[in-house]
Subunit: 509 residues, 3 copies
């Protein structure tokens, strides 16, 4: 751990290494250690975009990367060396304040269940798009160990772009959050291509060589992915065959003499083919190229338990729950072989502005949720946080003396587009949309087999299943009073939200 004291020096060294590496790799946009210079150059690159919308997106991405880099330099970057503490510090400004205040702040930020922009890493980037990957869940907290082998990634690609063919050492479930594209999977014996549209869900089996286009000429393509690594738990990498210098082709890792023999071709031809690509992973395609790759099958509902390998569209099914306050669409493992093998479900919730979803809990599934549109907040009841086994030194005392049962910490966090949050199995949660916009959320359910939703309010809420004696004994009041509280709501799952002052308004009772 003496390493930590040497960090500034190490940083300097790494910056130097980085400069050399950048030059060596021909990475024109990254030729200086200063974040300001990088920002300037990144922004200049954006000027090459003809369309204004694309220029704006590009500028936004430059700024995000700049801000993140600055944060890291400001001490935040040390977090990776502190992982052994179980939970990292996400907001450096808390340091020095009182412990208790800090903890309450943390839960208000949704920690450790909520992930924001700064928890993503830009893994790939060109001027036409990027792939962002969420940190490993266990980097955040040991409490998320149960979903260690799942990763979240978000792909954004400009109109009329091509994502270079590659394969991952991970299973992929993708959800199309915006735009329309075409995905092609090259298998040993054939190629299959499918058009993708908003709401499509599709599995890319691990190791499949796959490529994508954004076939819209004016709209971004945004794809949310859940990845399940097959080789090293929690880690995955992309393998690019087509490529050159950027993306590097994996063919270039082999000695030329071996490639010559394997391909039965002369060295100069090989070097030419493997030496041209320098435009990166996400590149502009011509209208003709887009057109040639665009005519493909569309996704639909998988019939009869699903033999098809193509996309299924969430919205082509009847909603599981729907009223004026919101709708829930789902595909679960029992409906689809591709998801069954991974024991995953995928859902989409649209909460009407000013409305709310829940309270409810999932019996078995842990939910990884990504906000794709709108704003709002959630509240979740969390016994693990206030309890024993993740609290460090306080454990023994606490656990031995706290014999009156678990207590529930409220985790509350604001939600906005791009945020990720985790709802562990069994945890009651309420999600609220802001008053001016619908809140849209896509969910991946881990351990979805045999999962059931237990509603805690509304017409079919589980309290209504209790015998009157159980109500009396459980709540300590006459059953009639319990019924008055739990039988007054006639909707299910989605309800009219709390009044205007919801955000920071009334204090908790």
């Amino acid at each position: 751990m003496s390493l930590r004291g040497k960090l500034p020096l190490l940083g300097l060294l790494l910056a130097l290494v980085f400069v050399f590496a950048s030059v060596a790799l021909g990475a024109a946009e990254w030729n200086d250690g200063s974040p300001e210079k990088r920002l300037r150059e990144c922004q200049q690159g954006c000027e090459r975009h003809e369309r204004q919308e694309e220029r704006g997106d590009c500028q936004r991405r430059c700024l995000e990367d700049y801000r993140r880099e600055k944060e890291e330099r400001g001490g935040h970057g040390r977090k990776y060396g502190e992982r052994q503490r179980g939970e990292e510090e996400t907001n450096p400004h808390h340091k020095g304040r009182e412990e208790e205040e800090k903890e309450s702040k943390e839960q208000q930020q949704g920690k450790p269940y909520v992930f924001e922009d700064q928890h993503f890493t830009t893994k790939l980037r060109t001027e036409h798009g990027r792939v962002q990957v969420l940190q490993k869940f266990t980097e955040r907290s040991e409490i998320l160990r149960g979903i260690e082998n799942y990763r979240v990634a978000i792909l954004e690609a400009d109109p009329q772009t091509f994502i270079v063919p590659n394969h991952l050492d991970a299973e992929t479930i993708l959800y199309v959050a915006k735009g329309k594209g075409t995905v092609s999977m090259a298998c040993p014996d054939k190629r299959e291509s499918f058009n993708l549209k908003l709401g499509d869900v599709m599995r890319i089996p691990a190791g499949t060589t796959v490529y994508l286009i954004n076939r819209s000429n004016n709209k971004k393509l945004v794809i949310v992915k859940l990845l399940q690594p097959v080789s090293t738990p929690g880690h995955f990498e992309a393998f690019f065959g087509p490529g050159g210098e950027d993306p590097e082709s994996y063919y270039r890792a082999f000695s030329t003499e071996l490639l010559e023999a394997a391909l039965n071709t002369r060295k100069d031809k090989i070097q030419k083919v493997l030496g041209q690509q320098r435009r990166g992973v996400i590149i502009k395609a011509s209208e003709e190229q887009i057109r040639a790759m665009s005519h493909q099958k569309e996704g639909g509902v998988w019939p009869f338990g699903g033999e098809s390998k193509g996309p299924v569209n969430l919205f082509s099914k009847r909603a599981e729950q729907a009223n004026q306050y919101g709708q829930l669409y789902e595909v679960d493992p029992s409906e689809c072989r591709e998801l069954k093998e991974l024991d995953l479900g995928v859902g989409f919730a649209n909460i009407t502005e000013g409305s709310m979803m829940g309270p409810f809990y999932n019996s078995r599934a842990t939910k990884i949720a990504i906000v794709t549109k709108g704003q709002g907040y959630f509240e979740m009841a969390c016994p693990h946080l206030s309890s024993s086994e993740f609290g460090g030194g306080k454990e023994s005392q606490h656990e031995h003396q706290g014999k009156t049962g678990p207590r529930y910490q409220k985790v509350r966090a604001q939600l906005k587009r791009g945020m990720v949050y985790v709802v562990p199995a069994g945890h009651p949660i309420i999600t609220v949309a802001s008053n001016d916009q619908n809140l849209e959320i896509v969910c991946f359910d881990i351990n979805a087999k045999n999962n059931k939703k237990f509603f805690l309010a509304g017409k079919t809420n589980v309290m209504n299943q209790l015998e009157s004696e159980a109500k009396e004994l459980g709540f300590g009041v006459p059953a009639r009073e319990v019924d008055e509280v739990f039988r007054s709501q006639n909707e299910d799952l989605f309800f009219k939200g709390p009044r205007q002052q919801q955000h920071e308004g009334r204090a908790d009772a």
Copy 2:
């Protein structure tokens, strides 16, 4: 780790926090940091019991908690800070003696495979019962990593009591060790209730809202549970919906304005219903309430691979093995879908007084055994303990030079009611009942699919399956002599035990 030096101070602080917390929670019985005062008050609480048997049980629990608390204060509480050593110190008196003596003592105590009263934590307690949870197996030793995601809990409830509805983020297999109860499972669409009696085995799926009554008017209900967490490996929590201050209701974690909106009810009504309960998790019910909840279906043998979700009674089946020296009853995954999904088996062994079970080993299953009645001891042959990879620094030398094969450490431990022990797959074991009482053991078998018992003595012992050449070569004596030793016993599994002086008597040969 400088934390350790500050433990006394921390202890003081926590004690203070505890006092405030106790007062705040209205936990009348816990209003002082002194164990003696707590004991006194606990015992006073017991006087409220009318029935003498209940008073006795209550007093015993007070004393156990008192003793445990004293132990913790006496330095034992530090064990949680020492977990990184792989194996904790269980008996502080050993410190300062020679290493070797200590190790031999440890194995005599059955370490790390045996768990006693001090390895349990009282997770919930009222004057009418309690729930005790065994420590995580990996807290004891890394050698138990294979069963990390299983936990053991024991529920004791006084006659005519009610356990408040709750759900766990864990699968539960329960075994009724004493008394008779009724279990009710509230699902989203219905409620199912089953009467429980001695020997019943039942699965409660993760997340099911469940409640229990002890419907006897004079007998305690004792239920042994195996839990398999579904969210965070090795960790589970109870979620109480009905409740108030004690148990806390998870509804109370939500802002009032959200509850008002979700339940469509006024704040004052909600606060009243969620504010009354202060009696804890296990509470006395009236005779009428018990009667109203008691008329339910009984468990039986699950027919045809078991579609029913109710209890199966171990004793309604024919015993797997039975003679005058003991009986073994079992349900395995092939007989029952509910167990198959969890790859678990459940068994019950009754060893007649003065008799013994084994030697035998399980081919695949690791057994978690709980003594439900009687006394005795076991001996187990353990190569992992005497071998390499868990021994720390000695490893390389040992492993490279010990080329003559593994050696077997004898683990020997006294058994009495309430003790838990682990028998890993492949490990030969003999269990002996005391001369004055039958020894009863309930077993949960992890990885039960395709498991086979290999008998090492008795009529069908596996040595008799060897060819005579294999016997000669293996033992290095004529096959006839091998047969004389291995063909003299006509019983199977259960045998007449060793002579009177078994306990501490004759030295090992």
Copy 3:
């Protein structure tokens, strides 16, 4: 970690303990702490062999053990205390040189994917054979965590020898790499015996009491095993019932009075039977004994998805791929219930001298390969090594700035008989045979279900599945030029190798 400073003293102590232990165990060949003396005595033991070939094998094993012991004493033995660094130092001579040079050297040695003689431990040894066990994969590197629960072992036994009956707390898949034997499995209700020949693959279920003979009168028996522990992840032990002092019988772990009672036999008889064996685990058998145990069923192709539990012979099937440059034989989980339960595949590649296999990658399976004959080398493209999450402190900087996509580290290592290497899912690899000898490799495929091989050169290589637009965009050159490179090879998987100077010859382009 202050332990490390005390290592020399500890070593001395252990040497002393070892001397006493050796004497106590009657291990005649190991009665001195000096490696030289041990070597001398080991070699003297070899003189007892009548046949010259056996004498030679015995001498070779003595020398290997001597060399390894010397290495350990020379500081190498410390590696076990350094495991927490994630990757151990395998070549002590590197210390003190520049980091970068070291890293490049390491990858040339195939680190962390390649294992040589020094990564094996001789777990059992007699003058007639030995069992060597490869270190745990996670001891080498955290990057191999995905295969943590697999172990590799190699058994060598002289002609006409017997391996004493034992069971493991692990599933075993064995492959017969040399010679012919007979395996017998003693189950609770029966014994099954099968003759084994070159190419046989067979599963021994965990916990089965099993014994083997080498029934050849002039050839060694060599068996390669993949083990999957069922009790403690990554750890297994052998349990010997027949035996005495060496191998120790597990019966000896029990008190005599318990054995007397269980076996219903007098103490003196038991002690005689359990006290004679001192010859170790692998012992010479007489011609009559061998003959009596040799007449058994032979392995074949498992018909119809495989109900038989006996061996299947890889070579009795049609080769998956075959041309003049090599052949590939495989059994995969879909063909065989025994392998399906373990999700394993087994393959055998024979690369003709001067030829090569690949480039290709496996979509899901991670391959554990053991060289059984010949020499050569491999090259593999490894993104995980050059990337973020296993590199320690450099991580955050690297990951946040390397936005141009992954880079591929070339791992290159010489191969020779007895070496083990790991090919993770998705990683492109080329394997080349030397010019003077075929290279034979047996492979165990972990996660074999739904695995597909993706060829990266040859007639059906996956680049040929891309649309011409995808080729153009991906490589940044006209599709025609891509085709010229990827359509010039007419063979599949096995190709004519690179020219003579392959080994250390031409520099990488």
